[in-house]
């Protein structure tokens, strides 16, 4: 396959001849094949191993969390049920990897007909860019809801989404389809990663970061994704959640 016009190698012709003449003998060819096989295994471990470890971590941590937090789930479920007799869980359509939608589970923290009320409230949207919908004093939030939102207890059922593989522990937050429809081609690149429970901007400032900043942080995460970074972000999320920073 040689024969390109600009074949200027650092190696001398002798070295090149030595290399290719290895392929002339059975033993030499075997040596070359083994070298490639070794290289391929190393590379498969480096690239594929990270994915396997990430998924393994997702399964182990989310399963453990679901079991360990069962008392919290029970108390929350009871108090939601007692407050207004509505449903305990709330299944919201979110946009996952490559734009596929999935149902994300949450504890219900708003009144039962919250989505119908949203349209009337859209005009009072407080976020500057208008892509994300969040407001600080939302009248639809129930009393229990305000408490569980402050300490992110409402997000805990998402460990189920992590366990079944819709989401990962660490990754860009999944957006609702209404927001994704407004994304530009560049913003869409955050859809290339599996969505997660926590990412840079949840640890950094949570909802107080504007939309462009969120995209930038998500892209920074996808660029530098590694198991080590995931672990670091997970540990940083715990204090951020307990202090209730930026959640409303």
């Amino acid at each position: 396959m040689s024969g390109g016009p600009n074949l200027l190698s650092d190696m001398s012709d002798h070295d090149l001849v030595d290399y290719w003449s290895q392929a002339g003998t059975g033993l030499g060819r075997m040596r070359l094949h083994v070298r490639v096989a070794r290289k391929r295994v190393f590379w498969a471990v480096a690239v594929g191993g990270a994915q396997v470890v990430k998924r393994g971590l997702d399964i182990v941590v989310s399963a453990t969390a679901l079991v360990a937090l069962a008392p919290v789930f029970l108390v929350t479920a009871l108090s939601i049920k007692l407050e207004d007799r509505g449903g305990i869980f709330f299944r919201q359509t979110r946009v996952g990897r490559r734009g596929r939608t999935f149902g994300m589970w949450k504890f219900r923290s708003m009144v039962v007909n919250a989505d119908a009320l949203k349209d009337t409230l859209l005009a009072e949207n407080e976020m500057a860019t208008g892509v994300t919908f969040k407001m600080k004093r939302d009248p639809r939030i129930t009393r229990v809801g305000r408490f569980i939102r402050k300490y992110s207890v409402d997000e805990l059922p998402q460990f189920w989404n992590v366990l079944v593989g819709d989401m990962s522990l660490v990754g860009p937050r999944p957006a609702v389809p209404r927001e994704v429809a407004l994304y530009s081609v560049d913003d869409r690149q955050r859809l290339l990663a599996k969505p997660g429970l926590t990412c840079f901007w949840q640890v950094g400032g949570r909802s107080s970061i504007d939309f462009a900043g969120q995209v930038q942080l998500d892209v920074a995460y996808i660029q530098s994704e590694s198991v080590w970074l995931d672990l670091k972000l997970l540990f940083q999320t715990v204090p951020a959640v307990l202090l209730g920073k930026g959640a409303f």
Binding site: M1, G3, S9, W43, V47, G48, Q189, L191, E225
Partner: protein, 390 residues
């Protein structure tokens, strides 16, 4: 264009030209700069603010529709209309070039189709400034590098080049000018890639030079000479381990177990003539015994399964002349998958590759992923099958 407008695209109908690249998908789904050509048009539709996209498609519309997934990634409803090219609307935009590109030289046979494909990639590199992607980082030498790619400090990079995610470039490798290297590739020590495309999950061996070529796993598609060559030596070119088109370990293990009983049954039976079968990893000479049960007749076929060149259950192995009788896209589909020692058509008493019934089964099997159930349903019935004397 206004906010509510629709964009109409026309997909060229070139399945008969694909005699060289031998891919299983229509040319609009071939990668140009790491993503299918059609994806660039969907991005363009998004930039123009089109509310929906209508795609007229004569060439394998089911694959185009499946890949678009309803336009989920772009949040833009997409309708794929299977249609004859004569019935395409006149105002449709042809997906035979990149958005905003001048009219290209259109292909009229296999070699020109490969050149068309390479040119789209190189033109995409040249106009890269206009559509830089957020995820790629600009290299100080002037080119783009994807996330988590590792480039050895002694590698020489000459712009324009684009290196995808998770790529490894070895010491002394010369990349560019004009190199498009897909995700998860490995370019080894002192290899050279210029005016060439390396498709995802390919391994370029040490001291290998690619110029005006497209490396596709273990095969090279040469745009200069207009041919496709399957490379048998893994140290020259091979697919990396992340590529899916391999014989499953399940088959290889089972074949190793079946090898000895098959050999014992085959003792003393007359051997038929050599037959050449084309597989995704090059040609393979197979010989079948003329008498006895199927297991004994195909006793010699188990060793290639163990070494990963045949599956246990799949379309029967066939040579180039049997493929040549089929439409080109169907032949490409059959060439892309590993043939099997046993096939579903064997269950129906049809043991000859290339027969009408066998071909039907083969195409059906090739068009969809193999299920484990199929293997375990077919195998027990065939191990004891005794074909009628021919």
């Amino acid at each position: 264009m206004s906010e509510t407008s629709a964009m109409t695209l026309a997909v060229p109908d070139w399945p008969d030209f694909d005699t060289v690249a031998r891919r299983t998908d229509p040319p609009v789904l071939w990668p140009v700069g790491g993503q299918p050509l059609l994806a660039h048009w969907m991005d363009e539709a998004r930039r123009r603010g089109a509310a929906r996209v209508k795609i007229y498609c004569a060439d394998r519309p089911h694959l185009v529709r499946a890949w678009l997934d309803g336009g989920a990634y772009w949040s833009c409803p997409v309708e794929v209309v299977p249609s004859d090219t004569l019935r395409y609307p006149v105002d449709a935009e042809w997906v035979d070039r990149l958005p905003g590109e001048d009219a290209p030289t259109l292909p009229n046979d296999g070699p020109t189709l490969v050149r068309w494909w390479l040119e789209r990639n190189l033109n995409w590199l040249r106009s890269r400034e206009q559509h830089a992607r957020l995820l790629d980082e600009r290299h100080p030498d002037g080119g783009w590098i994807g996330p988590r790619a590792r480039v050895h400090p002694r590698a020489q990079l000459k712009p324009p080049f684009w290196i995808g995610a998770n790529v490894q470039i070895g010491a002394g490798a010369r990349v560019g000018p004009g190199a498009v290297i897909g995700a998860r590739c490995v370019v080894e020590t002192d290899a050279e890639v210029s005016e060439a495309v390396v498709l995802d999950d390919s391994f370029i061996g040490p001291h290998v030079s690619l110029h005006r070529m497209i490396a596709d796993g273990g095969a090279v598609i040469d745009a200069k000479r207009g041919c496709r060559v399957e490379i048998a030596e893994s140290f020259i070119l091979s697919p990396t381990w992340s590529r899916g088109d391999r014989v499953p370990w399940r088959d290889r293990l089972l074949a190793a177990l079946l090898w000895l009983p098959a050999q014992l049954l085959a003792i003393g039976r007359p051997m038929g003539a050599d037959r050449v079968a084309s597989t995704p990893r090059g040609r393979l000479v197979l010989r079948e015994r003329l008498t006895g049960p199927l297991l004994a007749r195909r006793a010699a076929w188990f060793a290639p399964v163990v070494s990963g060149r045949l599956r246990l259950v799949g379309p029967l192995p066939r040579g180039d002349e049997a493929c040549a009788r089929l439409p080109i896209d169907a032949a490409n589909l059959l060439r892309a998958i590993h043939p099997g020692v046993f096939s579903v058509s064997d269950v129906h008493g049809c043991h000859q590759a290339g027969d009408e019934e066998e071909t039907m089964h083969a195409l059906y099997a090739a068009a969809q992923p193999q299920s484990v159930r199929e293997v375990f349903r077919v195998l027990p019935r065939l191990l004891f099958t005794w074909p009628e004397k021919s």
